[in-house]
Amino acid sequence: MAEPLVDIVARSIYISLAAALIAFTFGALISLLMLVTPRRLSEMLIGVFDALVGAPTVVVGLIVYMLIYPGGPLGFLKLLYTPTALIVSQALVALPIVVTLLYRYFEQLWSDVKELVLSLGAPAGKVYPLILRESPPALIAVYLIAFSRAIGALGAVMVVGGGIEGLTNVVTTAIALEVLLGNYEYALALGGILVVLTVGLSVVARAIGGLVWR
């Protein structure tokens, strides 16, 4: 008997929310650090992150697997086939898009706000509170995009999680499993939920992004 749908969805949301939070936190730090590194280096790095946005998630999963399998350098942590492994791999999948979006956003915002403050003859230190005031809607939108990217990452979670019922079975792995078992209606229901979640979040992200200028 298949695992209750609500359990799978709840697990997926919890794991992806955590993964998006980690990706967002590290992505924000990386993008802020890139803003203060020499321009040539930051342009090179952003090129790398741009390329990684489209990296196959199964490869990300494979890299995490190689790190955490019992014989791997982090094998002693015993993370393989645990929700933590899913969170880590989903966070890595979402990280590049968070970095590229936040870097471009902060770069433009910093430039605009700095010019505005200086042009008004105000102290340079006034740039920081204005950036804090401007940022929240865009930051929330980027977090939701990270969540959307994380929850749809099948390859990575399949490799490091294995889709174990009651433990690491999330919507994407459940769909793959149910298709293999011929439970197409159940798979379609799960697919519908996944689409509603990702499309719904994209709509929310766009709406919040639109608030940037309000």
Partner: protein
């Protein structure tokens, strides 16, 4: 107040100079007009004069002191007297009142009487609660001009201030600029040199391919 550019060169990419050996002196009061075709370097020149951009080579001397050799606190004090209106207005998230009063707020002023007078004169009263995002190009221009005029600066630098304005607003702005030039230094870059500017200018400059012809 005196601002002097000594052998100023500027490059955005470290290879091609958009300004070449600029020598320019503005002091006391009066209207200075910088003309030149698109791409001649007018905006860059004005941002250097306004202490927003640091020249790649050369010095910016303000009241006898090299501005870019000063410490951050001294720079803030000097820049307090010089304001700049962008060619492309920078407005922040929020309503028109927030944006139009931003200069006064950032500089710690809490007397809005003159600002309110300007708002009425330029016909922006009806728009004060509108989102900055909903404004037309001309309205955005007015917000950026008014918030700077309200500061009553000693040096006012305006980059193409008449773009997108209707003829009645151009007339009001010309009157304000000419009145302000009686006590302050006003520098305008424009391709729209009307008779009133020509008649009232103490000096006209022509910028051609990054070089100044006074």
């Amino acid at each position: 107040m005196e601002v002097r550019l000594e052998d100023v060169w500027f490059s955005y990419d470290g290879r091609r100079y958009v300004l070449k050996s600029i020598n320019m002196e503005i002091k006391g009061g009066g209207l200075h007009v910088v003309m030149g075709p698109n791409g001649s370097g007018k905006t860059t020149l004005l941002k250097i004069l306004s202490l927003i951009y640091k020249p790649t080579r050369g010095s910016v001397i303000v009241d006898g002191r090299s501005y870019w050799d000063l410490g951050p606190a001294e720079r803030d004090l000097v820049r307090h007297h010089i304001v700049y209106v962008h060619d492309k207005p920078i407005l922040l998230r929020g309503d028109v009142w927030y944006n139009v009063s931003l200069g006064l707020k950032l500089r710690g002023f809490n007397n809005y009487d003159y600002l309110e007078e300007l708002i009425k004169r330029y016909g922006l009263s009806e728009l004060l609660k509108s989102s900055s995002r909903s404004l037309s190009a001309g309205q955005r221009r007015l917000v950026s001009v008014i918030r700077v005029l309200a500061l009553k600066p000693r040096v006012l630098v305006l980059d193409e201030p008449f773009n997108y304005l209707d003829s009645s607003r151009v007339k009001i702005l010309l009157e304000d600029i000419i009145a302000m030039a009686e006590s302050s230094l006003v520098v305008i870059a424009t391709h729209y040199v009307v008779r009133e500017l020509r008649d009232n200018a103490v000096k006209m400059y022509e910028l051609v391919e990054g070089s100044l012809r006074g």
